[in-house]
């Protein structure tokens, strides 16, 4: 293993090493800058203080619900995109991926256009019939987060489904397993690593959501003010708390990446 590595290294041109080092530095420097600004001695107090702890609690709850929505809706969609041939499939896939590349604020404006109480497509109807107002409500935060997180889950799960060798499922069918049994006993188990990765990435994305949330759900303390929104507002009034919260978000994202690495290693073995 080690001899192989050295041989490959010797063949790598110098500019690749230089470029890769620069890229790594470019990504790491801001993180070091953030860590340097965190007031470690007071971090616990900053994170557990009023608005910060409320924002963390709200973020945790809404992002978990958003991920569940993404999972429940995303799994069937990924299945259709991966396994069923139909006209316009690439078109549908492009539409599904749209929230990934769309500026989140535009996503928020679009959500207002659909679910806004005063001038959304079905928002007024939702309010009149069910008394449901999504804007300025924690449920609105969940919707905004699910909207941007869903494509990440679909993408991870779809590629996972494509990488499963259909012979496993075929042989399960010849053994007499029905479609749903086949799914849970074969497909689901083979899919688990990509499913975990998809859930992790979708959750991280939901947790970090800013633009769509503030545009659609507003910025109400204790109600719709999630951690990224609190970081932005605290940056002016209480920078220490803002850096402490930023560190918490960073730590959570690192944990997600580590967990995903674990799931990929599981797939290899």
């Amino acid at each position: 293993m080690s001899t192989k590595k050295r041989r490959v290294g010797a063949e790598t041109p110098a500019f690749v090493w230089v470029g890769a080092s620069c890229a790594l530095l470019f990504l790491l420097l801001p993180l070091v800058g953030l860590l340097k600004r965190v007031a470690w001695s007071g971090i616990f107090g900053s994170v557990t203080s009023g608005p910060a702890s409320e924002a963390l609690r709200l973020s945790l709850i809404t992002s978990v619900f958003a991920t569940m929505i993404a999972l429940v809706l995303g799994l069937p969609l990924a299945w259709v995109l991966a396994r069923i041939e139909f006209r316009g499939r690439s078109m549908v896939r492009a539409l599904v991926m749209l929230p990934m590349v769309l500026p989140p604020v535009v996503g928020g404006v679009a959500l207002l256009g659909a679910y806004g109480k005063s001038n959304g497509l079905i928002g007024g109807w939702l309010f009149d019939v069910f008394g449901l107002q999504l804007t300025f409500s924690p449920l609105g935060v969940v919707i905004a987060e699910a909207f941007v997180a869903l494509p990440f889950l679909v993408m991870a799960v779809e590629s996972g489904l494509r990488s499963i060798d259909p012979r496993f499922e075929e042989s399960a069918a010849t053994m007499g397993l029905g479609p749903s049994e086949r799914f849970w006993k074969v497909t689901f188990r083979l899919l688990a690593p990509s499913l975990i990765a998809g859930v992790a990435v979708a959750w991280a994305r939901a947790l970090g959501e800013f633009g769509a949330t503030i545009t659609f759900a507003g910025n109400i303390e204790g109600r719709t003010q999630t951690t990224p929104l609190a970081v932005y507002l605290l940056l002016e009034s209480d920078p220490e708390a803002a850096y402490a919260l930023s560190f918490v978000l960073l730590a959570v994202c690192v944990a997600v990446l580590v967990a995903m690495r674990g799931s990929w290693m599981g797939r290899r073995s």
């Binding site: 005063s118 107002q133 503030i214 659609f216 507003g218 109400i220 303390e221 003010q225 507002l233 009034s237």
Partner: protein, 260 residues
């Protein structure tokens, strides 16, 4: 109060001097048109429309100049300048934020007041909730205000205090700046906002303004100052003089600002 008097005296003197130089030189425009290079202006979001026109007019007589406008809430701009963002001029929606720059050494002259603004209530077109006064705001579902620490949020808080109205924080959505706050009413589901009168006027296609009586209202002082250590001090000075000139005032007035 004494300081404001001094400021007005300085401003009057400055305009007199500029007037005199205008008389002594055959063409004042030819003189200012010597300006070269860049000019970066950081200005409060509520100045977006007025300063866009001011900068355009300023560029008309200074064709060699590259003018860059950077809008944001005054406290964000202060943070940017304090962390070294290149800026030649800072125009704030209050004097407190300029004083912060004085305290940090980023401004070494006395900031000049160049305009005043008041607050107004903005509601949706047609005023569906029949809002008539600040008191009516207490009965609405959701109110949009600026962040607690940015000038328009501080002013809105004073208006509410003066009117004796208390609004639960759970009914207040906080915009990241005045435009975002107004947008929560214009495009979102907020019933009303307290923002600058000039912003309500600028958005008259999407919101209706309701005046706040002067007893409950505040006078927002807009201050301007050159940034210490800027690479373009001559450009900064010329632009500040232009803002304080009669032509500059006419532009500000057309956007609803009041005499300094």
């Amino acid at each position: 109060m004494k300081r404001f008097g001094l400021m007005i005296a300085v401003t009057v003197l400055a305009s007199l001097v500029s007037l005199m130089t205008g008389i002594t030189h055959a063409s004042p425009i030819a003189e200012v048109s010597k300006l070269q290079g860049d000019l970066t202006i950081s200005a409060a979001t509520s100045l977006t429309d007025a300063f866009t026109v001011l900068a355009k007019q300023f560029r008309k007589v200074n064709k060699g100049l590259k003018v860059h406008l950077n809008f944001g809430s005054s406290s964000t701009l202060v943070a940017q300048i304090q962390s070294g963002a290149p800026s030649d001029v800072m125009a704030s929606a209050d004097l407190t934020n300029l004083e912060k720059l004085v305290a940090s050494g980023n401004v070494v002259v006395t900031p000049k007041v160049f305009a005043r603004n008041t607050m107004a209530i903005a509601v949706k077109l047609g005023n569906p909730k029949s809002v008539r006064s600040v008191t009516d705001l207490a009965s609405l579902s959701f109110i949009a205000l600026c962040g607690k620490t940015v000038p328009c949020g501080v002013y809105a808080a004073s208006v509410l205090t003066r009117a004796g109205v208390v609004i639960a924080e759970t009914k207040v959505t906080r915009g990241i700046d005045v435009k975002a706050t107004l947008s929560a009413v214009a495009n979102g589901d907020a019933d009303a906002a307290i923002v600058y009168k000039t912003d309500v006027l600028a958005a008259k296609k999407t919101v209706v303004g309701i005046d706040i009586p002067s007893a409950q209202n505040v006078k927002a002082m807009y201050g301007i100052a050159p940034i210490q250590g800027s690479k373009n001090p001559a450009n900064a000075k010329a632009f500040i003089d232009f803002v304080l000139s009669e032509q500059g005032w006419q532009i500000l007035k057309s956007f609803g600002f009041e005499r300094r």
